[in-house]
């Protein structure tokens, strides 16, 4: 097992139960899922099907009730709260539903935020953040606060914040949820380019088949289980 490189993400019979007794609610009912480096996965399914819970588990924001999650060979279930935070800080990038940017804080400062927690010196931090903003096409917008930016621009800031640390995995929860189709397409092309050019593994939740078509693999969730798992163009 040590001889060959472990899969990046490996879920084995993962269940997640919320509440207890009468109020018990099973969000995940035994998921097996393997995602290799460099994949671009779209996660689909009706609301309540467990895809958000699965994303939280993948993002190390939540730990499974039972089953095992190995991230790059590390057993995530055995990590402490702080170790989980360090894992998120060093390997994961998040694009949240509804952007989740800090209000009244400039685009540049928003993008710098994860670098602050990495302890990067100020000058280097600024350079990286400006660079990330440039990559998402927000040159010259760095001093604007989220309130002064359009939805598409806010989403780009959120993406810049997620990729500025050059994570192994980018987790995106409905990255095009609030955008019109042309803006959505721009965002998807941006994500595709990260996957293609930088080899960043992307797992993305979406409702729209058009957007899912950008991914190389589509996973459908239903009632807390993986109902369908298909490659668009086959494994690369």
């Amino acid at each position: 097992m040590q001889s060959q490189q472990p899969s990046l993400i490996e879920l084995r019979d993962v269940t997640k139960v919320y509440g207890s007794g009468q109020a018990e609610m099973q969000a995940l009912g035994g998921i097996d899922l393997t995602i290799e480096r460099g994949e671009f996965v779209a996660v689909m399914g009706p609301s309540g099907s467990g895809k958000s819970t699965c994303m939280n588990v993948l993002g190390c924001l939540d730990t499974p009730t039972a089953g095992s999650y190995r991230f790059d060979g590390i057993d995530v279930g055995s990590l402490t709260r702080d170790q989980l935070a360090l894992l998120r800080r060093n390997y994961l990038g998040f694009v949240f539903q509804g952007f989740n940017l800090l209000n009244r804080t400039s685009a540049l400062e928003n993008v710098e935020l994860p670098l602050i927690y990495r302890g990067m010196p100020a000058a280097e931090r600024r350079e990286h953040a400006l660079n990330a903003l440039k990559v998402v096409g927000l040159n010259g917008w760095e001093d604007h606060t989220p309130g002064e930016l359009s939805g598409g621009q806010q989403q780009r800031v959120a993406i810049a914040r997620a990729i500025v640390t050059q994570p192994s995995v980018l987790l995106a929860d409905e990255p095009t949820g609030n955008l019109d189709s042309s803006r959505s397409r721009e965002i998807m092309e941006l994500l595709s380019s990260f996957n293609r050019d930088q080899g960043i593994t992307i797992v993305m939740v979406t409702h729209e088949p058009d957007m899912a078509a950008f991914a190389k693999r589509q996973i459908h969730f239903l009632d807390g289980l993986v109902a369908h798992d298909a490659n668009n163009q086959g494994h690369s």
Binding site: N56, L61, A85, R88, N100, Y117, R118
Partner: protein
């Protein structure tokens, strides 16, 4: 890390100037109240001490009879001039011995008259009482020995009788005695007990005894003890000498009393010091209340910023980093409050000291202590909200609207 937390805190405070101001108002008032109380109290203590030392430093006052309480005195025979002479001859470490007797007399000059206290004494009185001459001169030896009709007056008497005129060389009338003014004393102002110390006329003791009192009595002996010598030892020596001279046997009580001004001074300044501490303690309670105000607002702020905290935690902030951020914010807030309070207090103390005529005594230690205390309030009352923020579940926090 700490620097970052500091910058974030400053940014947050600037974003909510009005709320931040109201938050720290309690601290500002608390710190200002403590410093003003202690400063004014310190000024009052200093004033009391100064007033007593203006009576004469290291002064012992010996008078016949024992105080019986309620201002009454037991009757006892008065001293004589030779008692005072014996004291200055036989007791070492004293710089002046001033025997005196006094009574109330109406003084007349031209059409003006003024009721004041006439003391018969010697030049030693001026030394023992720390008196300085504004103009004129002391008594000369021949005037004292012969009991000449000359007098030295205080500032209040000069003002009442002479107005704008120069009193030196003028003749004033004390009952049947007409005497020449030869000296004017510098003003000493009010005594601690509120008496006007400048309301007096001094004539030679012999003149007083022969021409006004008609007896040989000395009612008060003031003894000035040399600097750096224990007044208690001198007091003991004086008591022993006088007991011997007045033939008091070992089992009898003294029929005279010795008052140590230094003791009274210590007692009075001790009293004001206790009062100062009491007022300071009351003011410190308001600091505590201010701290609770900060906790309140910080808790509200944690709820308000739950989503922000969620974002920070999700992108990899450690629990202790979020804790530190909120804690630093609370400390910065309360320290700013402390600084504003200190500035207000210094301005307020100067104004109040002027208003109630107490010297302004700057007390660095209370300023430092208040500042540290206000910062500590930040730590103590900021910790609970900060911990609450740090322990939020990132998923829940992100969902919060």
């Amino acid at each position: 890390m700490l620097w970052n937390a500091l910058l974030l805190a400053m940014r947050e405070i600037r974003r909510n100037v009005m709320r931040s101001f109201l938050t720290v108002l309690g601290i500002v008032i608390g710190v200002a109240a403590v410093i003003i109380m202690v400063t004014i109290g310190g000024g009052a203590t200093q004033q009391v001490t100064q007033q007593i030392s203006s009576l004469g430093s290291n002064l012992l006052m010996v008078s016949p009879g024992q105080r019986m309480g309620m201002g009454q005195r037991s009757s006892a025979s008065a001293f004589r001039l030779d008692d005072a002479e014996a004291i200055s001859r036989e007791i070492s470490n004293i710089s002046a011995v001033a025997p005196s007797a006094s009574q109330s007399v109406t003084v007349v000059f031209g059409n003006e008259n003024w009721s004041t206290s006439i003391s018969g004494s010697t030049n030693q009185l001026f030394e023992a009482g720390n008196w300085e001459f504004k103009s004129g001169r002391q008594f000369v030896e021949s005037e004292l020995r012969a009991g000449k009709a000359v007098c030295i007056i205080g500032e209040t008497v000069r003002k009442e009788l002479f107005g704008e005129q120069n009193p030196i060389g003028q003749k004033i009338r004390l009952e049947k005695l007409s005497c020449e003014v030869i000296g004017l004393l510098n003003s000493k102002g009010q005594s601690t007990m509120g008496m006007d110390q400048d309301d007096l006329v001094v004539i030679p003791l012999r003149t007083f005894q022969r021409r006004l009192a008609g007896n040989q009595d000395v009612r008060l002996i003031q003894i000035s003890v040399k600097d750096g010598v224990s007044t208690q030892k001198v007091e003991q020596a004086v008591t022993e000498l006088l007991r011997e001279r007045r033939h008091i046997s070992a089992n009898e009580d003294d029929d005279f009393s010795v008052m140590d001004l230094k003791e009274i001074a210590n007692m009075l300044s001790g009293t004001t010091r206790v009062l100062t501490m009491l007022l300071g303690a009351v003011a410190a309670v308001s600091l505590l209340v201010g701290g609770i105000g900060i906790m309140n607002i910080m808790l509200v702020s944690v709820t308000e910023r739950t989503r922000e905290i969620g974002i920070r935690l999700a992108i990899g902030a450690l629990e202790r980093e979020v804790l530190l951020q909120f804690l630093v914010e609370a400390i910065v807030l309360s320290s700013l409050g402390g600084i504003v309070g200190i500035i207000l207090a210094l301005a307020g103390s100067v104004a109040l000291a002027n208003l109630i005529q107490v010297p302004f005594v700057f007390n660095m230690s209370i300023v430092v202590v208040s500042f540290l205390f206000s910062a500590a309030v930040g730590v103590i009352f900021g910790y609970f909200p900060a911990r609450k923020a740090a322990q939020l579940d990132p998923i829940e926090a992100l969902r919060h609207e």
